[in-house]
């Protein structure tokens, strides 16, 4: 009803169309209800290790084969030999951990059953910002026994990537996610299903995650497309844990501020702004035109908000490579390229 009402408000032209849609409004509730009916039998309530303060012993899962394969989040809940999987009809099974990919925070469980309703991962879809979505999970363990999972309605806020840089998100997974505009990521939700309004599986709800950039909780799901390969390999019994995603590689010998001839203000605070205190005469910095009182804002194209952050960025640059700095001087952004002096082999050691 509400959606029809809002569309009416939207413009006179559309209001006219809505008259044409009157028949639709009458059963407007039914498509969503049909989606829910179709998804609920494929949602699993999972119980395992935990139960102590702050470590809940429950989460959610998604049936992905009629033979009882369950997709879920890899967490402490699975850290036991006794995992219970409770289906939507209330049947309880012992679940076995088939395997997990810690890099993606994903695990596959197996129960002894056949003929189960299940999602086909190969038919999972994708969505863009603005897509209406439903989330199914046993959030806060509200559902018990044959009670159905909690359904939440929302919209995809944005498709983005969880950035690995500087511990913004405390998770091993650093890849594409759907950020949602509804509070889904609470205890019990990990492993739940993100589904389009039409019932197509889009993603798996992730763990609770705090965004350290602005101290808010992030509500997100990992797209099925990111999980599919690992899940298929685990199912087939040929999963080999991959190495962690290659961390940003540090060169053997990194460039230093000293080698560039830059002296920053004393680093007194947690986030001291990287103001230039002095530039050594004749140094690469002096030749590039860096001056005292310049504020370094970017190293390459990365924002550096503190002296420490600038130091960390420089560690990623080889001692022989040019360093591109963008500084703020009199409200002007100035781009400078500092060309390190390549030391002769004899004094190379001394430099380091």
């Amino acid at each position: 009803m509400r959606s029809a009402f809002c569309v009416l408000r939207w413009s006179a032209l559309v209001a006219l169309t809505s008259l044409g849609l009157c028949g639709a409004t009458a059963f407007a509730a039914s498509p969503l209800a049909a989606t829910v009916d179709q998804v609920q039998p494929k949602i699993v309530k999972i119980f395992g290790a935990g139960g102590v303060r702050g470590m809940e012993n429950y989460q959610s899962g998604i049936l992905i084969s009629s033979e009882g394969h369950i997709l879920t989040a890899f967490s402490h809940v699975l850290d036991t030999d006794y995992i219970d999987a409770v289906l939507a009809d209330g049947r309880k099974f012992d679940a076995k951990l088939l395997g997990a990919d810690p890099r993606l925070d994903v695990a596959v469980l197996k129960i002894q059953a056949t003929g189960l309703p299940a999602f086909d991962l190969s038919k999972a879809g994708s969505a863009e910002a603005g897509a209406r979505i439903l989330c199914f999970s046993n959030i806060f363990e509200v559902a018990m026994g044959d009670e159905q999972a909690t359904v939440q309605r929302g919209t995809v806020a944005v498709r983005t990537r969880l950035e690995a840089r500087r511990g913004v998100f405390d998770t091993p997974y650093h890849g594409p996610v759907y950020v949602l505009d509804v509070t889904t990521n609470n205890p019990g939700a990990p492993g739940g299903a993100l589904v389009s309004a039409r019932g197509q599986l889009l993603g798996m709800l992730g763990k609770e995650l705090r965004n350290s950039l602005n101290n808010t909780w992030l509500n997100y799901a990992v797209p099925i497309g990111e999980l599919r390969q690992s899940v298929e390999e685990i199912e087939a019994g040929r999963f080999v844990a991959r190495r962690d995603a290659p961390a940003e590689k540090k060169p053997e010998h990194s460039i230093t501020l000293a080698a560039l001839g830059v002296v920053l203000v004393p680093d007194m605070l947690e986030r001291t702004p990287p103001f230039v205190d002095r530039v050594q005469p004749g140094s690469p910095a002096a030749k590039a035109g860096l001056r005292a009182d310049d504020l370094v804002l970017l190293c390459g194209d990365r924002l550096v908000q503190s002296c420490k952050a600038l130091g960390a960025e420089l560690e990623l640059i080889d001692y022989e490579d040019p360093v591109k700095l963008t500084v703020l001087r009199d409200q002007q952004l100035i781009e400078l390229t500092l060309q390190p002096v390549t030391p002769s082999p004899s004094n190379k050691k001394g430099q380091l």
Partner: protein, 660 residues
């Protein structure tokens, strides 16, 4: 998809195309309602597309890392282009750390240095400026009069990695929130989109998202509501109106008129002026106590709350037309609103009133030596009959009327002594900051009450339903409902108190000076929690409903942590609490200015070697600057609680709080 793109080009054409799409789809696809979802999804995306090029990301460097106990994030945050010449509006929340540098990242990825041009402290917005070589795109604004509660509202931010803005979908939940300053939405509003636009389904900007709170709460007020289903935006039309001022670099502040309205319930009370601050815009406009406000800014006013709301929309520097009704006369004038009011100072005549009912006027209990009353020849036993030609009805009204005038004001009095009427003139002075004399005459004759039923007296346990605190109280056993009683709330120091001990100390004092003692215990032994201030409010209300309480003598008294809590409680509840008596404690938070309607006095006792001695001295200076009368009491060298003698002196001070 052609429909979506078209929105960006031409709204009306897009709508037409959209209609076609819907019709086409409904014929082609099996479920018509499923297309409604598709249509909605496309409309959401299209609405965001329409504003996306004006929504920028803001990055900051440096500045404070904590504000009001909140660890600030390092961003990024969102801004909205409001002028092609490079003016960008954002939420003040994003800049409370006062960053050393501001970078604006345009949707193209280009970064530009920005400077903060001006801040709107009333609506918590900032205006930034970047130097542009070509004009930036600006959004269409949704007219305020077309907004309806229930319509779609999409909150847009640009804080995540990648080149797409983030959106949250909801509806308009309310208009005219927070004194008419904001519109409300149930879309998820948080640091992820503070500073971004709230757009309608056509992609027109309805407002700019900011954290706001209905209660005053400093710079971070409203942040606690993030993602709660309660989000606020400053209407874009209001913003457009003040943009020229902000562009000139003018910081905007809430506009104050300096007028207080009678009545405890602002929602039902008629807008009758109780007081105007001296030299305030209201006083300068010639408004007088007793006037009824009937129009503000051309809008009719019938309730007290509307005065607050109309003023809430205005800024310091604004001129607001006002019409008042004085008797049958309509008087129109202009209020030139200001940013800061001078604190009011109550004028003092120098008398204590009797508290027993009289047939005529108010009888004088005590005349302060050397006061204006003494100089005019008033003596104890006289009856004050009229003031400035108006007959006097009761003690509290007289207190209010005298207090409205400031020191230096001359008042005309009529006094009856043994049948004879005398006319006097007196020039008011400031309230003296002295400890009371050793002996005071009784505040009432020995009235014999005719009351048949009396509420519980003696030691009484009190219970407030939502609070778990244990609360003892003592009501003088000779309680007489015809006599107004003072209330003293005792807030114990860390560690609690023994009731028997406390009672033994206070019982004789309460009996002698008509005082009800209320002594709550903190829920945690070690300290008072700020939330427990609410408990004191509730206790005062309960006592006030059961007993005859003198509104002029409600005092919160505390030692050490209890004293700090006493200040916290009193600053929050200026309507009820008339004084704080603190021993070895300093005020928590900033004291509000002295208020003409709600008198406030402070008694501060401390020792020379007290660790807080310096803070106490600073607190006294700061309270006096706000024109709050402060009495200080030295406790010798080492910190301690009051002796019996000092305690009875404090109780006499409380007994004199209805001085005028």
């Amino acid at each position: 998809m052609s429909g979506i793109r078209a929105w960006q080009i031409n709204a009306s054409r897009a709508a037409a195309i959209f209609v076609l799409t819907v019709v086409a789809c409904s014929a082609a696809v099996r479920g018509i309602a499923a297309d409604e979802t598709t249509a909605e999804e496309q409309a959401f995306a299209a609405a965001v597309d329409r504003v996306a090029s004006s929504v920028v990301q803001i990055e900051t460097t440096g500045g404070r890392e904590q504000v009001e106990g909140l660890l600030l994030g390092t961003g990024p945050t969102t801004g909205l282009v409001v002028d092609p010449q490079g003016y960008i509006i954002s939420s003040a929340f994003n800049f409370i750390g006062n960053p050393a540098s501001i970078l604006v990242r345009l949707p193209s990825g280009k970064r530009m240095a920005a400077r903060l041009v001006a801040t709107d402290h009333a609506r918590m917005l900032v205006l930034l400026k970047v130097d542009v070589d070509r004009p930036l795109p600006v959004c269409e604004v949704a007219p305020r009069n077309q907004m309806r509660v229930g319509q779609w509202a999409i909150a847009v931010g640009r804080t995540f990695a990648g080149d797409r803005p983030n959106m949250a979908v909801g509806i308009l939940s309310a208009l005219d929130r927070i004194s008419g300053r904001a519109i409300q939405t149930d879309a998820a509003v948080s640091p992820n989109n503070y500073g971004g636009p709230l757009v309608d389904i056509q992609g027109r900007v309805m407002g700019v998202l900011v954290p706001l709170s209905a209660q005053p709460g400093g710079q971070i007020a409203g942040m606690e509501l993030y993602d709660s289903g309660i989000g606020f935006a400053i209407p874009a039309e209001d913003l457009q109106r003040v943009l020229p001022r902000l562009k000139k670099g003018e910081d905007l502040h809430p506009g104050l008129a300096g007028v207080s309205i009678q009545g405890a319930n602002q929602f039902t009370a008629p807008p009758i002026v109780a007081a105007c601050r001296a030299k305030s815009p209201a006083a300068l406009a010639g408004i007088k106590p007793g006037d009824r406000i009937v129009e503000l800014g051309g809008r009719p006013i019938s309730r007290a709350i509307q005065v607050r709301d109309e003023l809430g929309r205005c800024y310091a520097g604004d001129k607001l037309s006002v019409v008042v009704l004085r008797g049958k006369q309509r008087i129109a004038s202009d209020l030139a609103l200001v940013e800061k009011l001078e604190p009011h100072q109550h004028g003092f005549l120098g008398v204590l009133p009797m508290r027993s009912e009289t047939d005529e006027g108010v009888a004088v209990r005590y005349v302060y030596p050397g006061s204006p009353a003494a100089a005019a020849g008033v003596a104890a036993g006289d009856v004050l009959v009229s003031l400035a030609g108006e007959s006097i009805h009761d003690r509290l009204e007289l207190m209010q009327t005298i207090g409205m005038s400031e020191p230096g004001a001359e008042i005309a009095l009529e006094v009856r002594r043994s049948g004879a009427l005398r006319k006097l003139k007196a020039t008011l002075v400031a309230t003296p900051e002295e400890l009371p004399p050793v002996d005071l005459p009784a505040a009432h004759e020995n009235v014999k009450s005719h009351a048949v039923e009396r509420p519980a007296v003696g030691a009484v346990r009190l219970k407030i339903p939502e609070h778990n605190n244990k609360v003892w109280s003592y009501v003088p056993t000779g309680y007489d409902p015809e006599i107004p009683y003072g209330v003293l709330v005792w807030l114990h120091p860390p560690g609690g108190y023994e009731w028997e001990e406390l009672l033994a100390r206070w019982k004789p004092l309460c009996d002698k000076h008509d005082l009800i003692l209320v002594a709550p215990k903190s829920t945690t032994q070690s300290r008072w929690m700020p939330e427990e201030a609410m408990l004191v409010d509730r206790l005062l209300m309960q006592v006030g409903m059961t007993y005859n309480v003198d509104p002029a003598r409600i005092v919160v008294h505390g030692y050490e942590g209890g004293g700090a809590m006493a200040f916290l409680t009193a600053f929050r509840n200026r309507q009820m609490i008339r004084a704080v008596a603190a021993v070895e404690a300093v005020p928590v938070g900033s004291a509000p200015d002295n208020d003409p309607q709600f008198r406030f006095s402070v008694y501060l006792a401390s020792a020379e070697k007290s660790p807080s001695a310096r803070s106490v001295r600073q607190a006294v200076a700061s309270l006096r600057k706000k024109k709050i009368p402060v009495v200080t009491k030295g406790l010798g060298e080492t910190p301690r609680y009051l002796s019996d003698e000092e305690l009875s002196e404090l109780v006499r001070w409380i007994d004199m709080l209805d001085r005028m």
